[in-house]
Structure formats: C-alpha cells, structure tokens
C-alpha cells in the first residue's frame, strides 16, 4: 500500500508540475502576440541572447569542428577514405552538433541568468511592483525573452555552423595536409540545404525551450536566496534535458520516413 501511495504521489506531482508549466507556456505565448509589446526590453534581450552569446557559441563551434575532423581522420584513414571527412564535418555540424551544442551552451548562459534575474525579482517583490504599476510581468519580462530566444538561436546556430565547418577545414588543411580547394569542394558537395534548415528549426525550438525554462523557474521561485539558487539549477538542467529530448523528437520528424 505504501509503495502504491508513493508511486501515486510521484505521478500526481509530475502531472501537476507539467500542467503548471503548460499553462505558463500558453499564457506566455499569448502575451507574445497581444499588444503592447515592450520594444525596449525586447531589444535588450535580442542583444543579450544573440550578440553576447557569440563568443561562447563560437568557441564551442570551432573546437567541435576541429575535433570532429581529427577524430574522423583517425577512423577513416584506416579505410583510406579521407575525402569523407569533409562530409562528416559538414553533415554532423549542420544537422546535429551546431544546434545541440549551441543550445546547451546558451542554456547554461541565458537560462541560468534569466532564472536568477526573474527569481530575484520575485523574492524582492519586484514582480508584484510591476503589477501595481499596471504592467503585466508576463508581458514585460517573459514575452520579450521568449521572442528573443526564438529569433536569436537560429542566427547563433547559423554562425556556429559556419565556424564549426571552418574549424574542420583548419585541421584538415593545416594539420592533416589536405588540399584546400578539394576540401572545400567536398564540403560543398556534401552540404544540403535541408540539413541546414532542419538544424535552424531545431534551434528555434531550443531557443524557446531555454527561455521558457529560465522564465518559468524564475517566475515560480520561492523562499529567498536558496529558492533562486534552486530555480537557476532547475532552469539549466530541465532546459538541457528537454533540448536533448526534443532533438530526438525533431530528428525523428524530419528524417525518419
């Protein structure tokens, strides 16, 4: 009996928090489409998510591309198929590694800071203050962040794709001694627009997930500094897991026919 009770309460708790999250998401999306839109805070978020994430995302991408070229060389050289390296790099970067790694890095950077910022505003009554100043906190704080995440992540991933492929080129040409023009030609032949666009669609979904998790956990945080700390952790962990989970679901939708 005790065990059943425990299972029951865990399941109910899970359903309850899922329901709360879905309600929050629906309300937040609604606010994205209804005026007024706070352009100033939207602009600030666009810059914060897009521009200031560039170094982190760029560094991640270049090393990923470099290591990808190096690793696939050790694998493929045994089959004397070095030309396959360009293919491996461009396909895996555009389809998978660009969006997923950029998503995870931005989740750490943006998701955490959003949860901490909104969580602090919650515990210091700044969210209540917004309401008393006739400003809906969902509209003023959450909606601009969701829009910015949705718009900026694909752009970041586009940059990450280019830098990642360039990283592969650097290693292939300067370390493994490939012919530059052949490598570039191989890259172009392997590149498919469908791969790129599927990665960008994924990126939009990840941008939404990251900002939603950051806002939701910040918004619902309770109990002072400890609560804000927990909200930050939850935002990053849940965003990362959801990114990997939705990566599979979206891949299944795009490519499994």
């Amino acid at each position: 009996m005790r065990a059943l009770q425990l299972i029951g309460s865990v399941v109910l708790g899970f359903l309850e928090s899922t329901g709360r999250l879905v309600l929050f998401a629906v309300a937040a999306i609604g606010h994205c489409f209804r005026p007024p839109i706070y352009w100033r805070s939207l602009g600030r978020q666009l810059v914060d998510i897009g521009y200031y994430s560039l170094p982190v995302v760029g560094l991640t991408a270049i090393f990923t591309g470099m290591v990808l070229a190096l690793q696939s060389y050790t694998g493929f050289s045994r089959f004397s198929a070095e030309s396959a390296i360009a293919t491996v790099v461009v396909v895996s970067i555009t389809r998978e590694l660009g969006p997923v790694l950029a998503g995870l890095m931005v989740a750490g950077r943006i998701g955490a800071s959003m949860a901490a910022e909104i969580g602090t505003m919650r515990v210091t009554e700044q969210l209540d203050a917004l309401t008393t100043l006739s400003t809906n906190p969902m509209k003023y704080l959450v909606a601009p962040r969701l829009i910015a995440g949705f718009v900026m992540l694909p752009l970041l991933v586009l940059v990450a794709d280019i830098i990642g492929v360039f990283g592969g080129y650097l290693v292939a040409v300067y370390k493994l001694g490939f012919n530059p023009s052949t490598y570039i030609q191989n890259t172009w032949e392997a590149f498919r627009f469908a791969d790129l666009s599927s990665g960008l669609v994924k990126a939009s979904a990840f941008g939404f997930i990251i900002t939603l998790m950051g806002c939701y956990h910040g918004y619902t945080s309770r109990g002072g500094a400890q609560g804000v700390g927990a909200a930050t952790t939850n935002a990053v962990v849940s965003a990362s897991i959801l990114i990997l989970c939705f990566d599979y679901i979206l891949t299944e939708m795009f490519f499994a026919r």
Partner: protein, 259 residues
C-alpha cells in the same frame, strides 16, 4: 475622517487560507475617500496578505472587496489592470527595479502603464523626486547605489508618480532609523493626506501609526478586532489593543515563543 465621505474601499467577510493555516478569517473594513487608515497587528497576522488581496496579487478564498463600488474579487484581469491604475504601492523592501535608473523607476508607471513618452515622464519623475527631497544628481544612479532610506524615498516617489487615488504602504518605516522613519512619515502625509488621496498602511510601528493615521484598525487572528479614530486608541477598552500599543509580552495575546 468625516462620516460623509463616500467609501473608497469596502471589504466584507474576507477570508484567505494557506493550506490549513487560516490567515484572514472574515475580515471587514471600510476606508473612506481621503482617509488614511493604518492597520496594526503583530508580525505574521496577515497584514501583508490583506494588502495583496486588495491589490489582486493574491486571490481571496471568500468575501468581497469593492473599490469605488466595483467588486474586485473574481474581476477579469483586464478590469483588474484598469482598477490598479488607481493604486500606488510602497513596498516594504522598496522593490525598486535594479536594472533601471532611479528616474526610470519613478517614471515606470507613467511610461509602461500610461504610455507617456520618455522626455515628459522624466520631467514628472524629477519633480516627484524633488517632492520626496531627492535632487537631480540621484536621478541617473541605480537603486543599488542608494542607502536604504533613499531607496524608500525613491519607492515613495514611484508610488505617487501617477497621482494615484489610493496609496498603500507596507511597513513604510521598518528598517529605518527613528529620524529617517519620521522623515518618511512626514513625506507620506505630504504626498497623500495633503493632496486628498486615500491611504492604507500596515505597520507595527506605533509612532508611525499615530502620526500618519486618521483611523487605526487592529488586525488579530484574521479579524479587525478594533477600529477607531487615532485619538481613541488609548481608550479602546480592548486588552489586546492595549497590550499591542504598549508593547507588553504579557497579556491576552500570547506569542508562540517556545512552540
């Protein structure tokens, strides 16, 4: 104040519980237009919950809250937002937006709430800052650079920036030294009573309550146990009120010290 002024806020049978803990239990309170009412009561008696119910930040379980005759319990969020324009609120911890400068904080309700352009809102914000004794040098600073007393003043300027009909004060003097507390009290009188705004304050600071109130109401165990003009508080005839205003540990109100 006078019996003739119309009732601005009428609260009837207000009940709010958190789980099994009943905080407000059938509370009744009337606040007349232009009147300054101070609700006193011990820590944790639900004073803040009362304010948050009126502001719509918390949803009461039962009861009625009427603002200018309009029922607010169960009102649509659009109506709620509309009525909230009549309100100004000074939060206990000031609750200034730390990402914005001082003048942007003060002007926030004008720009975001009323859609006023920045230049005009800035002008009004600066004049409100002067009203609370702060000069233009503070305007461009961030709230974190100010002392607690100055933050309270900025928060007061923000609360009155839109010339609200009703201003709420949540423990306005808590955490301030006695002199700064009196400065804030004086400012509260100047910015509300003197311009005819209705004020509802909650505090456990008796000196502050005596100074800013027309009428005092005491909240205990979820109900208003006594309410009357500030001059009558010493002869309320209620032992609990006497115990509170004289600050005695012994009496009918037993704090859970060892629980």
């Amino acid at each position: 104040m006078t019996e003739k002024s119309p009732v601005k806020i009428a609260i009837r049978g207000l009940r709010k519980a958190f789980g099994v803990k009943v905080v407000l239990d059938g509370l009744d309170l009337d606040i007349a237009e232009g009147e300054s009412v101070v609700v006193i009561g011990g820590s944790g008696t639900g004073k803040s919950v009362l304010l948050k119910c009126i502001l719509g930040l918390l949803r009461p379980d039962r009861g009625s809250i009427r603002v200018d005759g309009e029922e607010m319990v169960g009102a649509s969020s659009a109506r709620r937002e509309e009525v909230n324009r009549k309100f100004g609120m000074l939060f206990q911890g000031a609750a200034l937006f730390d990402s914005l400068t001082v003048w942007e904080n003060v002007a926030f309700g004008l720009m975001a709430g009323k859609g006023m352009d920045r230049a005009r809102a800035r002008e009004i914000a600066l004049s409100k800052l002067v009203q609370v004794g702060l000069g233009g040098d503070v305007a461009a600073m961030h709230p974190a650079e100010l002392s607690g007393g100055m933050q309270k003043r900025v928060a007061l300027a923000r609360a009155i920036a839109t010339d609200p009909e009703i201003v709420f004060f949540d423990e306005p003097t808590t955490g301030l030294d006695p002199i700064m507390a009196d400065v804030i009290n004086t400012l509260i009188i100047e910015t509300t009573r003197d311009v005819g705004a209705t004020a509802l304050s909650i505090t456990h600071d008796m000196a502050s309550a005596r100074k800013i109130a027309h009428r005092i109401a005491m909240l205990h165990q979820g109900k208003i146990i006594w309410a009357g003009p500030v001059a009558d508080i010493t002869r309320s005839g209620d032992e609990r009120v006497d115990q509170f205003i004289h600050g005695r540990a012994d009496g009918p109100i037993q704090m859970a010290v060892r629980a």
